[in-house]
Symmetry: none
Amino acid sequence: MTPQNLAANTRPGRWTKAERKRQIAAIALDLIATHGVQSLTLRQIASAAGISPPALYNHFSSRTEILIAVLDLIKDRVFEWIDSSRNPNIYERLRELAGSVHESKIVEHPESAILPLFELIAAGRDEQLTEQLAQRQLATVQRLADIVDEGKKQGTIGKDVDSKVVAWSLLGFGYAKDIALLQGVSSFVTDGTADKILDKLLRDVAAKP
Amino acid sequence: MTPQNLAANTRPGRWTKAERKRQIAAIALDLIATHGVQSLTLRQIASAAGISPPALYNHFSSRTEILIAVLDLIKDRVFEWIDSSRNPNIYERLRELAGSVHESKIVEHPESAILPLFELIAAGRDEQLTEQLAQRQLATVQRLADIVDEGKKQGTIGKDVDSKVVAWSLLGFGYAKDIALLQGVSSFVTDGTADKILDKLLRDVAAKP
Amino acid sequence: MTPQNLAANTRPGRWTKAERKRQIAAIALDLIATHGVQSLTLRQIASAAGISPPALYNHFSSRTEILIAVLDLIKDRVFEWIDSSRNPNIYERLRELAGSVHESKIVEHPESAILPLFELIAAGRDEQLTEQLAQRQLATVQRLADIVDEGKKQGTIGKDVDSKVVAWSLLGFGYAKDIALLQGVSSFVTDGTADKILDKLLRDVAAKP
Amino acid sequence: MTPQNLAANTRPGRWTKAERKRQIAAIALDLIATHGVQSLTLRQIASAAGISPPALYNHFSSRTEILIAVLDLIKDRVFEWIDSSRNPNIYERLRELAGSVHESKIVEHPESAILPLFELIAAGRDEQLTEQLAQRQLATVQRLADIVDEGKKQGTIGKDVDSKVVAWSLLGFGYAKDIALLQGVSSFVTDGTADKILDKLLRDVAAKP
DNA sequence: GATGAATGAGCGTTCATTCAT
DNA sequence: CATGAATGAACGCTCATTCAT
């Protein structure tokens, strides 16, 4: 056991309560990404976590609470992604973010975030997650819009651009891409259509010389 | 109505076999729209149809077959919608279609088509509907692209416009709108952002004078 | 339609009621022989008979009645088999009968009688056929015992032989053979054990010189 | 009883896992003996065991697995019965075994083994138990044949006797008896015919002086 | 913390049977 | 005579959750 681990150890076993919760949420996220949200049973999560189903109740009080934790994890990852480029030129930064989506760093990897989010959105009504979803979605849109606004001040983004429109367009593009993939229509990505849409989207927001 | 039709309608109960199937599919579609796909049980469908669950098996051989029938119904409705405007000016026609979406004739009504489709997409992996979905999705994209192509020939749509890009953008916009609504983020529609995106999308495809 | 058919035709369609019942019973017998009695559903019978399940109720008032008809058919076939040799020497006749069993004319052919009877015996308790079974079983034993008695009078069968014992032994042997086959233990037949038992059984009943 | 056993028995409730499985199998065996295999539902077993149907899945993973456990139980009981006489004189031992069958210690008691086995054999085809049955049947025949062989060495069984023939004859006799009873033909037993057959069978294997 | 055993609710499905047509 | 549509009862099975240990 490394000193690091010891440091993190207040006592319990090896991980703090919060860490263990996060681990379990990450496992659930993985399972959602690979098998969908409908087949996400406590048995599966427990088995993947190496414990028994009832043991999950030591960390969460219900299945729904686990899903909320997954939602939090997704939001964190999306924010991490948004902040992954620190390019001072905002327009360039957006290009980099778009590029990383395009390179599938986010969208296509099963361990990723948007696709499971999508699953959760669809399942939301039955799982009573709608409210939780709305909060996080708005926060994400706002975060993107803020960056665009910064770019407008900076002059790299067109002054007449509507920040919200851009933020929503980017998200919408990501969703559409996932929907296509979920439907098994990979041609949307492979034939370059997705790239063209994204490229046009970005060109339109650049500051006109 | 031909004598044949009369015969077919009055003789075997009141509805033909195909009609009854379609009715049940429509009921299932409703239920998906209002409660989501996860809670779509045979008991629910049967109850809404005023029959007992086993009676469904006189019309469909499994739950999956019902879902496929729903998929067909959705495709038909989407095509009806696409063909709902016969404006000879293709650009105007696209504007009308967009307008009808905006007026929520399709998207927001629970009896509508796209939102349930969305549910089915998310459920697809578990329900083994992926293949069926892909077929219908591609058919829809192609239908829209054909119309855009017609507009290019006609001269009302820009010659340099990529038909596929437009088709996918329109669909993607529709999806994004539904996702926002499913997440409970109605502000996307109410604050005019959705309109702005759609308007920009259409202006960009108009033939430049 | 041939004159013969016309002759047999009192009117109905092509067969008399009794004939049609017998045909259906024969179909059920086949199905039992090939798939067992548990999976004998009305759907199966009807489908094999080229009609719909409810149509069976025009001939039989319940599933149990069909099974009874099958029982009758089996009894008839067993009697036919018993009477298939008319060799005046009773001992020889028994040998011939035993031989025909051995040659699998009865036991191993799926269209045969004993194996399905066996299925019905096992199912009897649930199907309330016990009484019907007892009647027919006793009649069969009696028929065999009568023949043995005739042989004793004739002098080809030993005077000290107990006819009932012989009759039951022969039947018991047939049952044991079927049980072995049903269990998948074909070695009982293929390694000659079955033959040896039957041979010993017959030698023991021959009149001693 | 060793300390280990004590520990194993008192700690995990009151019974070990294996014991509980065996108890449930015994209950199922009883139900088969009294009502037949067709009506052996999980609800019945659970009810007789004083638990709810889903609770059975804590011990078995499917209905078929329960039936296999029943098969094992039957095999164990048959072997116990075979070993119930330890008379050093093999011929006498066979007589004792035959006697215990005759006294119905095995066959007629509902808690017994052969009759339910018989039910399982008939149900085997539908329940995919054929392979399991064949294994156990052969093991039983072999066990009996071994004893006969021992008697031949010992000199109490005739040297020219075919051990397999004897083993199969004994089993076949048992089967025939059960079949008769299942059919409701108790006269086979009550009028002494069964005894006579068994007696003859045994006399024929005795070593000739 | 973790587990084995248990449970109520519910699932999709099959069956023999009925009945209007 | 035959059928399509329907049904009550029952089936094997899975699920999230509870609780004593």
